[in-house]
Amino acid sequence: MKKALLYLFLTLAALAVLFPLLFSLSLALQGETVSPRILPDFTRLDFTVFAQVFAKEPLMGRWIFNSWVVSISVTAGVLLVSVLAAYPLALFRFRGQTFVLFLFLSTLMIPWESTILPNYLTIALWGWKDSYQALIVPFLASGFGIFLLRQAFKTVPAELHEAAVMEGCGRSRFLWAILVPLTKPALATLGIWAFLNTWNQYYWPLLVIDNPVWRTTQVGITAFRSTEIASYNLPMAATLIVLAPTVLVLFAGQKQLVEGLTAGAVKG
C-alpha cells in the first residue's frame, strides 16, 4: 500500500516535470492548426513535421552544423588551455604562484555580462563579426575548468612529479603521458560541461551574428518561432530537433558529469 502511494507520487512528479516536453511533442505532431489542443488526435499524428522544418528553413541544417563546430572547438580549446594552466598551478612551485591563483580566482567573480560590451567592441574592431572565431575564441579560457583540473591534478603526489622530472622525464611528457591519462574522469566532466554550456549559448551569438548563415541553433530556433508565429507544429519540431544532441550528451555522460560536479559541490 505504502509502495503504491510512492509510485503514485513518483509518477505524478514525473508527469509534471515532463509536461512541457510532452506538450511540445504533442503540438509538433498535431499538424498545422491555429487552435491546437493539449492532446493530439492519436489517429492522425503528423511525423513529416520534422522534415518540413528543414524544407521551410533551408538554413536549419547549417545552424546545427555551426553549433557542432563551435561547441566541439570550444570544448577542445577549454580542455587544452585548462590542462596547460592547471599543471603548473597544481604541481610546480614558482614565483608569483599565489598571484596567478588569485588572478584566475578573480575571473570567477567577474560576470560575463559585465564584460560583454567591450568584448563586442573588440570583436567588431577586429572584423570578427559573423565568424566562427567570434563564437569560439572568447570562451577558451575558463576559470572553472582550470580550478576543476587543478583539484584533479593535485591528487597526483608532487613527489611522483619531482621524481619523474629528476629521472629525466620531460615535463610535457609527464603531463601528456601520465597526468592526463590519470585524470580522465575530471577531463570528461569538464568536456561535457563545456559542450553543454557552449551548445546552449544565446546572448553572445545574438550580438555578434548578423548574417543568418552564421547563426547557431539557439538563436535560430527563436528566430524561427517569430517567423512562423501562425503555426505551432513547426517551431516545436525545430526546438525538439535542437534539443536532441544535448539530451543525448547528457544521457551518455550523465554519470560522469554528476560525479564530477558533485565531487565539488557536496564535499564543499
Binding site: V34, T115, P118, V165, G170, R171, Y202, L206, T262
Partner: protein
C-alpha cells in the same frame, strides 16, 4: 605549433633545472593571454566607459560624465526623465526570490522521493534530471507556446503586469530543476544509512528526522545551490528575451541584464550600459561575500 611549444618548454626546464618559474609561465601563457584580452581588459574598460559619454561610432570615451550614469541607475540626479532604473534592480531581486526558494524546495521534494530504492527508480531519476539538457532558449520557445493566448490555457499571463514575472520565474524553476535535483539526490545518497536507522530506532518521526537529520546534512548542497541559483538569476537574460522581448507590461519584467541589453543594443548608450554592468558586478560581489559568511556557519559533516 604544439611541437614548437613543447620544445620551448623542454629548453626552458633543461637550461635551469631548478627554475620552474619560466616553464610555469610558458604553460600559463595561453590562459593568461586569453583572460587578459577577454576578461580583465574588457572589465577595466567597462569601468572606464561607465564614467564617460561614449562616441557611438568609434566606441571611444568622449566626455567625462562622472558618476552621472550611476546616479541615474539609482534614480538620483536630474537626468531621471521618468525613467525608473532602480526598479530594474528591485525586479531582479524579486525574480531571484521567486525562483531560488521554489527551485530548492521542489528539487528537494523530488530528491526525497527519488532516494527510495524501488524497482524502476532509475527511469524516474532520469526523467527528473532531464531539464538539465534543455537550454534556456529552447525552454523559452516551449514555454512561450504554452503561455500563448491561442491555447486558451493562460491567455493573458505574459501581458498582465501581475503575472508576467511569476510566469518567467516558473519557466526558470523548471529549467533549473534538473541540476538542483541531481546534486540534492547525490547529497542525500551520501548520508550514511546507519544514521537513518538509528533515528528510526530512537523513535523519531519522519518529520522530525527530516528537520533534525536530513536537512542539516544536505545543507552544504543547499547552500551551494543557493549561491549558484542566485548568481544565475542575477544574470538572467535569455528567458526574458525569448518570452517577453520588451521591458514587459508596465515595465514589470525589466531585469538588470535586460535593461543593460536595451541601453547597449537599442539605445547605443555605451556609457550607461557599462555603468549597469559594473553595478551587476558589485551586486554579485556583495552577494558572494554575504554567502561566504553564511558558508562558515552552515553545518559541515
Amino acid at each position: 605549433m604544439m611541437d614548437l611549444f613543447h620544445r620551448a618548454v623542454m629548453a626552458s626546464s633543461r637550461l635551469h633545472p631548478g627554475r620552474e618559474t619560466v616553464s610555469a609561465f610558458v604553460y600559463l601563457a595561453p590562459a593568461l593571454i586569453l583572460f587578459a584580452v577577454f576578461t580583465f581588459w574588457p572589465f577595466l574598460r567597462a569601468v572606464q566607459l561607465s564614467f564617460f559619454l561614449v562616441d557611438r561610432n568609434t566606441f571611444e570615451p568622449a566626455l567625462w560624465f562622472g558618476f552621472g550614469y550611476y546616479l541615474r541607475a539609482f534614480n538620483l540626479g536630474e537626468t531621471a526623465l521618468g525613467d525608473d532604473w532602480i526598479r530594474s534592480i528591485a525586479t531582479t531581486f524579486q525574480f531571484t526570490l521567486m525562483v531560488v526558494p521554489f527551485t530548492l524546495a521542489s528539487a528537494l521534494a523530488l530528491a526525497l522521493l527519488a532516494v527510495s530504492k524501488v524497482k524502476g527508480i532509475g527511469v524516474f531519476r532520469t526523467i527528473y534530471t532531464s531539464s538539465l539538457a534543455i537550454s534556456l532558449a529552447s525552454a523559452g520557445v516551449i514555454w512561450s507556446l504554452i503561455y500563448s493566448p491561442n491555447l486558451k490555457i493562460f491567455e493573458t499571463i505574459l501581458t498582465d503586469a501581475r503575472t508576467a514575472l511569476p510566469a518567467v520565474a516558473l519557466m526558470t524553476v523548471w529549467t533549473n530543476l534538473g541540476f538542483s535535483f541531481i546534486l540534492l539526490l547525490a547529497g542525500l545518497q551520501a548520508i550514511p544509512k546507519d544514521l537513518w536507522e538509528s533515528a528510526k530506532i530512537d523513535g523519531a518521526g519522519s518529520w522530525r528526522t527530516f528537520w533534525h537529520l536530513t536537512l542539516p546534512l544536505v545543507s552544504p548542497t543547499l547552500l551551494f545551490l543557493l549561491i549558484t541559483g542566485t548568481i544565475g538569476c542575477f544574470q538572467a537574460f535569455t528567458q526574458f528575451k525569448v518570452l517577453i522581448d520588451s521591458v514587459g507590461p508596465d515595465q514589470s519584467t525589466n531585469v538588470l541584464v535586460y535593461a543593460l541589453f536595451t541601453a547597449f543594443w537599442a539605445e547605443n548608450n555605451y556609457g550607461f550600459a557599462s555603468a549597469l554592468s559594473v553595478i551587476l558586478f558589485g551586486l554579485l560581489l556583495l552577494l558572494s561575500l554575504a554567502q561566504y559568511r553564511l558558508d562558515t556557519r552552515v553545518h559541515y559533516q
